[in-house]
Structures are given as structure tokens and as C-alpha cells.
């Protein structure tokens, strides 16, 4: 997963709900369909929220990994 290619990166480390979701939305808005966003977050609540957000928006959550308290998400814009 860590070698997944991505087009843009977003650092949401240190931010709490709902900022990671709001910033992910803004980042994805500026991307083209099919492009991949790599997002870093430390908010433990982001695990559930990113799943819900991608389900609701139709973007694809390609993967999620966690290490040292940092969550890494790969999202493909629909």
C-alpha cells in the first residue's frame, strides 16, 4: 500500500473532526476524476469518518494504513 501512486498529498496531522474531512473535500474538489489523494491524519476518529465520507460522496477509499499513530488514506476521486 505504501508504494501506491498518488497525484496529490494532504497533511491533516494534528487536526480534529471535522477538519480532516473538510480539507479532504477541498483537496478532492481541486483534482480530476480518477486522480488519487494521499492523506495523512492523526485523528483516530478519521478512520470511521473517511469510510463514511467516501461512501457518501462516491469517491473510492483505495486503502488505509496506520503506523505510529498516523493514518494514511488513499482516495480515488470519482
Amino acid at each position: 500500500m505504501s508504494d501506491t501512486a498518488f497525484d496529490q498529498e494532504l497533511d491533516c496531522r494534528g487536526l480534529l473532526c471535522p477538519l480532516p474531512i473538510l480539507k479532504a473535500k477541498q483537496a478532492v474538489d481541486g483534482m480530476a476524476a480518477g486522480q488519487v489523494l494521499r492523506m495523512l491524519a492523526t485523528d483516530p476518529g478519521s478512520v470511521s469518518d473517511m469510510q463514511a465520507w467516501t461512501r457518501q460522496t462516491g469517491h473510492e477509499l483505495l486503502g488505509h494504513q496506520e503506523g505510529d499513530g498516523v493514518h494514511t488514506y488513499y482516495i480515488r476521486k470519482s
Partner: protein, 170 residues
């Protein structure tokens, strides 16, 4: 994902700092999920539409509020200071101090400000509606509010809420 857009309708009736968060957190998040969102601001909630938000928090009205310091060593920050009600209710300036502490703690923990969430809500397409009746009663002018605020009344809210998937009174 449904083809038809989901819809969130909120009435925001409170104007203190703690009560200001839920409507803006939910409105901005729902809008970020491409939901249709309208928040109807009435009574004290109307103050949250003013250009400068002066919302405060009152420990005496919220006895369960944890009183913690946003600075110093970790152990010091974790202390939940016991605050007897006679103190929080009668000490001049206590609400002001508690508000400053809460704002500072939120900022340090990475929580958005109310102003940020409000801007993001509007930018993501949420409708913010001011209760015209309350505005008249409190003597608020439409120019007192930030740009992008709509005027409305009960019928405006109900028509929107009638088709909503989630309706909340906060």
C-alpha cells in the same frame, strides 16, 4: 451512494461557544459529503451569524464542564480543576476566563474555530438562514451578518425540512 442528494435541516437556537459547534460541524461535514444543507438560526443562535462572533461559555450553567489548563506540563494539563458552583457563578470575569481557556485548548488540540467552520459551510454550499422575526426583536440588521446569509421564517425552514433526511433542533 444514492443518486438523489441527501438533505440536512438544522435549527440553531443557542449562541454560546459550546452550543455553536454542533450546528457548524454537522453543516460543514454534510456539505462536504455533497448533502443539501440549511441551518435556520433563531433566538440566541442568530448571534452566530454576526460578522464578529463573541460566543462565550459558562461553567456555572454547565457544572459537568471539565476545567483544564491549556498550558504547562502534561500532568498539569490533565488536572480537572474542581470549581465549586458558587465560585463559577459569582466570580466576576469567570465566564470570560473560561471562554479564553476553551478557545485556547481547542486551538491547541487542532479544532477548527467557529468562524472557520462557518466559512467552510458556506463555501461548500450550505444555506445559512437568519430568522427574520428574531432579528427584528433583537434589533439585528441584515448588515450585521456575514455575506451569504438568507432571510427567512418558519415556513422557509419547514418547506426545506419536509424533504430532509436528517432534521435537528440544537
Amino acid at each position: 451512494m444514492r443518486n438523489e442528494k441527501r438533505r440536512l435541516a438544522i435549527i440553531a437556537s443557542q449562541g454560546s461557544l459550546d452550543w455553536a459547534y454542533p450546528p457548524f460541524i454537522l453543516a460543514s461535514t454534510a456539505a462536504a459529503m455533497s448533502w443539501e444543507v440549511a441551518v435556520f438560526f433563531t433566538f440566541y443562535g442568530l448571534t452566530l451569524l454576526k460578522k464578529k462572533i463573541t460566543a462565550k461559555v459558562s461553567p456555572s450553567a454547565n457544572p459537568a464542564m471539565p476545567m483544564k489548563m491549556p498550558f504547562g506540563p502534561q500532568g498539569f494539563q490533565r488536572i480537572d480543576w474542581p470549581m465549586p458552583n458558587f465560585l463559577t457563578a459569582n466570580l466576576p470575569g469567570f465566564d470570560h476566563a473560561a471562554t479564553a481557556l476553551m478557545r485556547q485548548t481547542f486551538k491547541k488540540k487542532g479544532v477548527a474555530t467557529i468562524e472557520e467552520l462557518r466559512t467552510l459551510s458556506l463555501a461548500a454550499g450550505a444555506r445559512l438562514i437568519s430568522c427574520q422575526m428574531t432579528a427584528e426583536v433583537f434589533g439585528f440588521k441584515h448588515e450585521d451578518f456575514i455575506d451569504g446569509v438568507e432571510k427567512g421564517g418558519a415556513a422557509t425552514f419547514l418547506e426545506f425540512a419536509a424533504e430532509a433526511d436528517v432534521s435537528l433542533f440544537i
